[in-house]
Symmetry: C2
Subunit: 361 residues, 2 copies
DNA sequence: AGTAGCTTCTGTATCGATACAGTACGCGCT
DNA sequence: AGCGCGTACTGTATCGATACAGAAGCTACT
């Protein structure tokens, strides 16, 4: 039988409590006794208090749950997501806490709910979960644990929140394009429709996009363009099958080969924007001259690629979420964090070509 | 006070066990009673059995620990690592199990040991841990939980193991280069020395490299080249500061600008190989003509980049590790899995240039 | 009627620890 | 001696569930 605290206590001739203290509260007993306890424990093959029992008694398990849906692949392919996770992990490590990745099945809602209900965690962070998957954070977590969300509605519902003003960020990017004279825009998003591949999306779809982020970022662009008098329905929205460079290029092909090629393309992530740059290169088009390209995230490679993009503090977002979960500020106001974004202008955007594209160069 | 099983049992007028069964063994009671229990539970705000208490009683927590060291950043920047994790997550999801990421501090060995000792997991998977960090898997896990390793010595120690024959894989790659007439080789590795930046490594260092993978892959190359009569010490080993494209390019610069430029460069990962390709391009050199480049992993982008590389089944490795942990085969022999690798020849390797490189085009 | 067998539910023991109040004891001070 | 106080340790109650043996009730068959 595996040894327990009691086994060790009996062997040393002290009470169970004292052995417990030897591990968890070294200041509560004399160093000699502690050594004696630890060495007999080692002799008996006892490797410290059972984590499960300890958690039950203490009421804290020492890990926070990270909720995903669908493809874990997605979550790990997205550089932003990874940065976020790194920030979260930093905060967690600081609190001696682990991260429990909880892949939630998208098909079996029952099983997903069970995963959440049965997870051994002290709190949840909603990571890559489509908006229509849950109505509110309360639904995700009937257990009353702390949960931090990343969507505006979470913020409005008074839940803990860490995010950015997505729409304001893309509005700034849109205004930049407007100032440069662009009037024909194409937008490339991913996860626009579940299960559908690459292809144009009807623009009136976009208010019902399953992902909050896509919805909001599109809204920001629309606001910038309609404010400048551009008719929004002329904007083409193309869905990419995945958030990858290759799919970005494939999606870009849908608009670049048209006669009324847009003068500017907004990609909802930098990764997709890289694909757009690839597609331009493959066609002998110059980014920032023939077609302006603008991304989102400012991932590390964006600077090298000279990509104009919206920078968001990804690591900081993760860290802030971790801090909220691990020691929530007493003031409710401090439990909602909105981080700043910044438009980083690089060489991939420039004045809209005045002539028709084919006449240039 | 939060409701417990007892609270619900009292409200419904049944025993605690019956309420427990309502959640965990629906076949043990009549559907009517079950409904009655679940609805009063909902009314009382009881959200199912407490996971901690359940884990204590059941002796299973429903998650497996993934051990890292150092930068979580590293673990998530490496495409192979991510593929591995995806495979692991797949197996885990299948068993209704979560993944607990355990970042182990490299500085504070005491704290790291405590993390392992106190982790709420059913088993461990050693993920990105340098070889000199532990002597054997037994040391990592004094609790007697299942552990799966990825190093040969783990296999030799009879522990659970999932891996590839690293040295054989690179030997095949080396033989390919030899057949093409290459005799001057440079090798680019990362994590060659902890804390050191980009730069050449003394070749006699490599048997003491902290990472098993680097050691073994170098060994395979050495074997191939020495078998062909090439003096191994003429091979330059360059350490890259990180496993990134940019650092790969920086490391490549150390050998490409020399007079006796190698005719072939082996990068220990595809990511580094991409950097080498970038460095070649920047110098107007043609991959596969002027300098052959060979990578390792066969990550998705490798095909597009036409990179010759060694393919290893990354996702499969993760999945196999998960299966071993989650339901270990009864036969000891089946608890050690060696997966196949395959040399994928693409355009980045070609015959060694016969004249000196500068004379050719 | 008796008993066998099934389903449905109950009751107690147990998982392995920590919290907290309490005891014992030594020491300095008056 | 008597009192106060701090340190070192003990003992019991408790955390919230599940396992398992057994009881009760009901049908079916001889």
């Amino acid at each position: 039988m595996r040894p327990t605290l009691q086994t060790v206590a009996d062997a040393v001739g002290v009470s169970r409590s004292t052995v417990s203290n030897a591990y968890s509260r070294p200041d509560q007993l004399s160093p000699e006794l502690r050594d004696r306890i630890l060495s007999t424990a080692a002799r008996l093959g006892y490797s410290g208090p059972d984590p499960t029992a300890r958690s039950l008694r203490r009421g804290r398990v020492g890990s926070i749950g990270v909720l995903f849906t669908g493809q874990l692949t997605y979550a790990f392919t997205d550089p932003f997501a990874i940065q976020f996770l790194i920030g979260l992990a930093e905060a967690a490590e600081h609190h001696n806490t682990g991260l429990l990745l909880l892949p939630l099945s998208e098909d079996d809602e029952e099983a997903a709910a069970r995963s959440v209900r049965e997870a051994l965690v002290d709190g949840f962070c909603v990571y890559c979960v489509p908006s229509d998957w849950y109505r509110s954070l309360a639904q995700i977590n009937p257990r009353g644990l702390p949960v931090v969300g990343a969507e505006l509605r979470d913020r409005e519902a008074g839940a803990m929140f860490v995010g950015i003003d997505e729409a304001a960020a893309t509005r700034a990017a849109g205004e930049h394009l407007i100032r440069l004279g662009h009037r024909r825009l194409a937008v490339i998003i991913d996860r626009g429709t579940p299960g559908r591949g690459t292809g144009p999306l009807r623009v009136d779809d976009f208010d019902t996009l399953p992902h909050y982020v896509a919805r909001e970022r599109l809204r920001g662009y629309r606001d910038a363009f309609t404010a400048a008098g551009v008719d929004w329905p002329t904007v083409t929205v193309v869905n990419a099958a995945a958030n990858t460079r290759a799919e970005g290029a494939a999606a870009a092909a849908h608009v670049l080969d048209r006669a009324d090629r847009p003068t500017a393309v907004f990609a909802i992530t930098d990764l997709l924007a890289f694909g757009v740059l690839d597609a331009l290169r493959a066609r002998g088009l110059r980014a920032g001259r023939d077609v302006s390209v603008i991304g989102f995230d400012d991932i590390p490679d964006a600077a090298t690629a000279r990509l104009t993009t919206v920078r968001q503090p990804a690591v900081e977002r993760g860290r802030a979420a971790g801090v909220l979960l691990l020691d929530p500020p007493p003031e409710a106001a401090d439990r909602q964090v909105v981080l700043p974004t910044e438009l980083i202008v690089r060489a991939s955007t420039g004045p809209a070509p005045t002539a028709t594209p084919t006449e240039r160069n």
